[in-house]
């Protein structure tokens, strides 16, 4: 922590504690130790002292022990020529500052009962509201808990002009934040600036004029401290939980406007205890490493037009977009719409023109949230029947964003664009295809509106991983080509990443218990090389799903020690499945059909089972209606496999898994496969090739029987013998 800041904070704290001490001595002489002191209408006494220390201060006599605590906390002044770790002393100095300031303010309530209005609104002759009573706390605190007000900005001082003050206040209001104001800069306060500019202040407009002195900052901190006790069930004196509650749930920050005095530093240091960072407009030293606060601690010299955006980012506040501002209706009801030739106004991509869509992540500083850039003609500049090249490049940034999530976000473009009424979207990547209907153009729909849609929906649906979204939409051929080149590079990297990912390289696998509602003991274990049997969730999807919805059905499992590499058994997985299946499944293999096979829900793409006579395995997909060599059709087989039971010899699998290197390793892998429906064999042909080559049997696909060869074991066995199918000479399956 910056030594300059720490020394200033400690100096400030010493001043403030000294001041409180003097006030206290004076009051004690005048009123005696039995004199009651309080903040009006609260059951939380002096809330910071009560919340942190558990001391209910109700008389002047009670103050003594708090003063002792302050003196114990405040460190000695920092010497110029000794360098020590200063974070802890500065934080303690900050804590003492708040205790002392509460004492100062409480004595003020005693000596000048009418100094504050004690209401929700300022009065004509007094704009200072003072501390919030319990009624205000509950009413407003509810908004902090339910998220309608995510937090507050504690502003000290004043802006350089009334206009800037109004602009900052308005921006904070737009983010639904409360603005708690105190202290002056060169005799001016932000509260007065707002009033002079004709802005209505008070609790109802969320612009709260606490007091003219910096000591009124304790009203903001006291509010936060009480919120934790009132809404978080935190007990008085349990400072650790109280501070953590605030760090995790109250998105507050300090914003000093103007010269940062030693006393302001002391208050800022105190706020860091609560996880509230400081964002200043003056060039004070910065504290950038993450530690107590979620991200940076002190960020300075921020221009006034950027200060709110920067504060929101530093505190990690999420943007909420409620309305999608486009001239068309929007929703899942329009997903299935088709735009046929007669209704068609404009189209792009789909082999008719160049078309590409790409989502990439960038650094926080490179993305301007909400920006939509359009280069090239939009729909108001084209004629009916025109076609143009098209590129949509979505750039996102987020503190929790990972490049692994890019393809998942990109895959959403398809349905999110389709939700727009009058628009049809097909495909993805560089084979995407968009058609815009005549009705949409009549209503004033423009391509740049797609940018607004993507901005809003990424925030709404992926707020946990995305903090900023900007969208570039191009119909200019040169620009489109640029994006296409970039896209090709990105796709290549992504594909390589997925291929390079093996079960050995990752320590964490994921569970999927989405289907437990109808298969209560079923637990899917999803590894990089074994996607969910439904085909809908691969390992990366699960990873993202967990980030987005941490209490959802996809939970990380640390796989732990590998107890049986061929079967695919790990200690961590076994323990997890045992617990998540409610003690029903005691052991599970990721790679075996015969030995503790994975349970299945009911939504598997295919079923694998054994063909005893052929010493092989067959796989049948859901779409194949005919009879299979095991004597059962898919539907009958499905009944054997589903419902969360372990049935050795029967297994639900995804199509993707069939071509995985980990496919039924315990039984010999793909080499064992003796029969597939023709349609499935054709679908998998491309992906099977490299595996067959690796097995040293490049023509292996031709050795697999299908329904044209036969649908009984007797019928296919001669075929397998003739082809020299490897399964025939492998170890017996049973």
């Amino acid at each position: 922590m910056s030594k300059i800041i720490c020394s200033a904070a400690i100096r400030g704290a010493r001043n403030i504690v000294g001041m409180a001490e003097a006030k206290y001595e004076e009051a004690l002489k005048k009123w005696g130790p039995d004199q009651k002191i309080e903040f009006p209408n609260t059951t939380y006494y002096l809330p910071i002292i009560y919340g942190m220390l558990g001391i209910p201060v109700s008389t002047l006599g009670d103050v003594k022990q708090v003063m002792d605590k302050c003196n114990e906390l405040v460190p000695a002044a920092v010497s110029d020529n000794v360098w020590l770790p200063y974070l802890a002393p500065a934080l303690e100095a900050g804590m003492a500052t708040f205790f002392a300031e509460e004492i100062i303010e409480a004595i003020r309530y005693l000596e000048e009962p009418d100094f504050y209005t004690k209401g929700e609104d300022p009065l004509p002759d007094n704009i200072w509201l003072g501390t919030a009573d319990d009624i205000i706390l509950r009413k407003r605190g509810v908004e902090f808990v339910d998220g309608t007000a995510p937090g507050f900005a504690a502003i000290l001082g004043a802006a350089p002009s009334n206009e800037i003050a109004v602009k900052i206040a308005l921006e904070l209001q737009e983010k639904n934040l409360y603005v708690f104001m105190c202290a002056d800069h060169e005799g001016k306060t932000m509260s007065e600036q707002l009033i002079e500019a004709g802005v209505q202040i008070g609790w109802p407009t969320r612009l709260v004029s606490f007091g003219p002195s910096y000591t009124a900052a304790v009203f903001a901190m006291g509010f936060a401290t009480r919120a934790a006790m009132s809404f978080g069930g935190v007990q008085p004196g349990d400072f650790a939980r109280n501070l953590r509650y605030n760090k995790d749930r109250i998105f507050a920050f300090a914003m000093p406007l103007g010269t940062v005095t030693d006393e302001w530093y002391a208050n800022a240091a105190g706020a860091i205890n609560w996880g509230f960072p400081t964002i200043a407009d003056t060039p004070i030293p910065e504290i950038l490493p993450t530690g107590v606060c979620t991200y940076e601690h002190v960020v300075s010299n921020v221009p006034h037009d950027k200060i709110v955006a920067r504060a929101v980012e530093v505190r990690g506040l999420k943007v909420s977009v409620t309305k999608i501002d486009i001239p068309m209706s929007y929703g899942p009801a329009f997903e299935g719409e088709r735009i046929r030739k007669d209704d068609l106004y404009f189209e792009c991509g789909g082999g008719r023109t160049l078309g590409v869509e790409l989502t990439v992540s960038k650094d926080m500083s490179e993305v301007e949230d909400g920006k939509v850039e359009m280069v090239g003609p939009d729909l108001d500049q084209v004629k009916e029947g025109d076609k143009l090249p098209f590129a949509m490049l979505i750039e996102v940034a987020g503190r929790q964003m990972q490049s692994d999530f890019e393809p998942i976000l990109e895959r959403q473009i398809h349905h999110l664009v389709n939700y727009v009424q009058g628009i049809m979207h097909i495909g993805q990547r560089s084979i995407m295809w968009i058609r815009v209907g005549k009705a949409a153009v009549e209503k004033g729909f423009l391509l740049k509106h797609l940018g607004k849609v993507m901005h809003a929906k990424y925030h709404q649906d992926f707020g946990n991983i995305v903090d900023k979204v900007q969208v570039k939409i191009y119909t200019d051929e040169e620009k489109v080509k640029e994006v296409l080149e970039q896209a090709k590079r990105v796709y290549k990297q992504r594909d390589a990443r997925v291929e390079g990912m093996t079960d050995e390289t990752e320590e964490t696998y994921y569970s999927c218990t989405l289907c437990q509602s109808f298969a209560p003991s079923h637990v899917c274990v999803i590894t990089p090389e074994r996607a969910g049997m439904c085909g809908a969730y691969n390992w990366l999807d699960c990873k993202a799903s967990f980030e987005i919805n941490p209490t959802g059905p996809n939970q990380p499992i640390i796989k732990g020690e590998c107890t049986a590499p061929v079967l695919g058994q790990w200690k961590g997985i076994t323990d997890f499945v045992y617990k998540a299946s409610r003690q029903k499944v005691e052991q599970v293999s990721a790679y075996s059909l015969m030995n503790s096979p994975m349970t299945a829900c009911g939504c598997f793409e295919c079923v694998a089972t054994i063909l005893p006579m052929c010493n092989g395995i067959m796989v049948v997909n859901r779409d194949f209606m005919g009879m299979t060599p095991c004597g059962m059709k898919f539907t009958t087989l499905a009944g054997m496999v589903g419902g969360g039971n372990q049935t050795p010899g029967f297994l639900g699998v995804s199509k993707y898994y069939i071509c995985s290197k980990k496919f039924l390793v315990a039984e010999g892998g793909l080499k064992r496969v003796a029969w597939l429906p023709k349609m499935l064999k054709e679908e998998l042909a491309e992906r099977m090739k490299p595996i067959c080559e690796e097995m040293g049997i490049p023509n292996f696909a031709d050795m697999i029987a299908d329904e044209t060869v036969g649908t009984t074991e007797e019928e296919i066995l001669p075929f397998l013998e003739e082809k020299g199918h490897p399964a025939l000479t492998m170890d017996p399956l049973m």
Binding site: R138, K139, G141, V142, E143, F144, V145, D146, G147, T148, S230, F231, G232, G233, T513, L514, Q516, S517, P520, T551, G552, P553, R582, Q583
Partner: protein, 316 residues
């Protein structure tokens, strides 16, 4: 060797939740076995029946349902009193049906006023049920929480879309919430986790896994309730160890079968008995599945179910 009754070994227990205000609380939950399996465990608190009261005169009720309340139908306070004084109601369930934007759409303030009046007039625990419109319920139930501070109302339905707002108000003004989910054990569990994360205390949560009427999907609802109880009692799933409420009366009394006349459908039998029996049977089913609180309408149906509860509890 003598025959021994095979017994389920339970590892969990349903939480005991005290409802209503201090001094006159009614506790539900606490069971350490499946419903009425008294040979395997304990049910320290018998299931309770809450009688329905509507915030304004119902317009589409059958005569059978209307008849017992004809004299109080316009006045929720008198209605609630009658349920308690005449029919011995253990709890009241105030249905704020007229807040529905597709119905009378009365304002949140108005609904809160009505609720306050009823709450002031009854000493038994009061359930307050919104119109199941996510946005409107948020507004209405928040206002209700505020004006009835300290009365420990049971507020619902709290759903995924509004649990933060209503949950926060319930914490602030000290009420109990009904976590309501659409017939899905995972969603039920998830909402309980979310409420916990919000800091709603565990002794302030009741769950509503949804109920259909007899013949209208009851069997599916039954299975989900049963599953929830299995998870709670034998599978150590502590986020499902909450008492269950079943808001069944309005499901039963909106079905075609309780309204169609004997002339129109002679096979269905006596119209006067039909609704009562359908309500009693629906209640009986969810009772066996694990419900702790039944929201019911007709006094005769209630008396049938009460008798059945008594018989089951005494092992007769």
């Amino acid at each position: 060797m003598a025959f021994e009754v095979p017994k389920v070994s339970y590892t969990g227990k349903i939480r005991e939740i005290p409802l209503g205000r201090e001094g006159s609380t009614v506790t539900v939950g606490g069971e350490s076995c499946y419903s009425f399996h008294l040979f395997e465990g304990e049910m320290p608190y018998t299931p309770k029946i809450a009688m329905e009261v509507y915030d304004s005169e119902p317009e589409d009720w059958s005569d059978t349902a209307l008849e017992p309340f004809a004299d109080v139908i316009k006045d929720p306070v008198a209605w609630a009193r009658k349920c308690i004084d005449t029919y011995g109601a253990e709890m009241i369930a105030l249905q704020l049906a007229s807040t529905d934007p597709n119905d009378k759409d009365i304002s949140a303030d108005e609904a809160a006023k009505i609720t306050k009046k009823v709450a002031d007039a009854v000493e038994v625990p009061l359930i307050v049920w919104g119109c199941a419109n996510v946005e409107k319920d948020t507004e209405v139930l928040k206002a209700v929480c505020e004006v009835c501070e300290g009365k420990n109302l049971i507020i619902g339905p709290v759903v995924e879309g509004n649990y933060r707002a209503i949950g926060a108000a319930a914490i602030a003004y000290k009420h109990t919430v009904v976590a309501s989910t659409p017939i899905d054990i995972n969603l039920a569990k998830q909402l309980n986790i979310l409420l916990g994360n919000l800091n709603v205390p565990d002794e302030k949560i009741i769950i509503d896994p949804s109920t259909g009427a007899l013949g209208y999907g009851l069997e599916y609802c039954y299975s989900v309730m049963e599953r929830i109880r299995m998870a709670a009692l034998v599978q150590e799933d502590e986020r499902l160890q909450f008492p269950i409420i079943s808001n069944l009366a309005k499901e039963v009394w909106k079905t075609k079968e309780v309204k169609v006349t004997e002339a129109e459908a002679p096979l269905l039998g006596d119209l006067g008995k039909r609704g009562i029996l359908m309500e009693a049977l629906t209640a009986q089913c969810v009772l066996l599945a694990g419900a702790n609180i039944l929201v019911m309408r007709h006094p005769e149906a209630i008396s049938l179910v009460k008798q059945s509860i008594k018989d089951l509890m005494t092992g007769k």
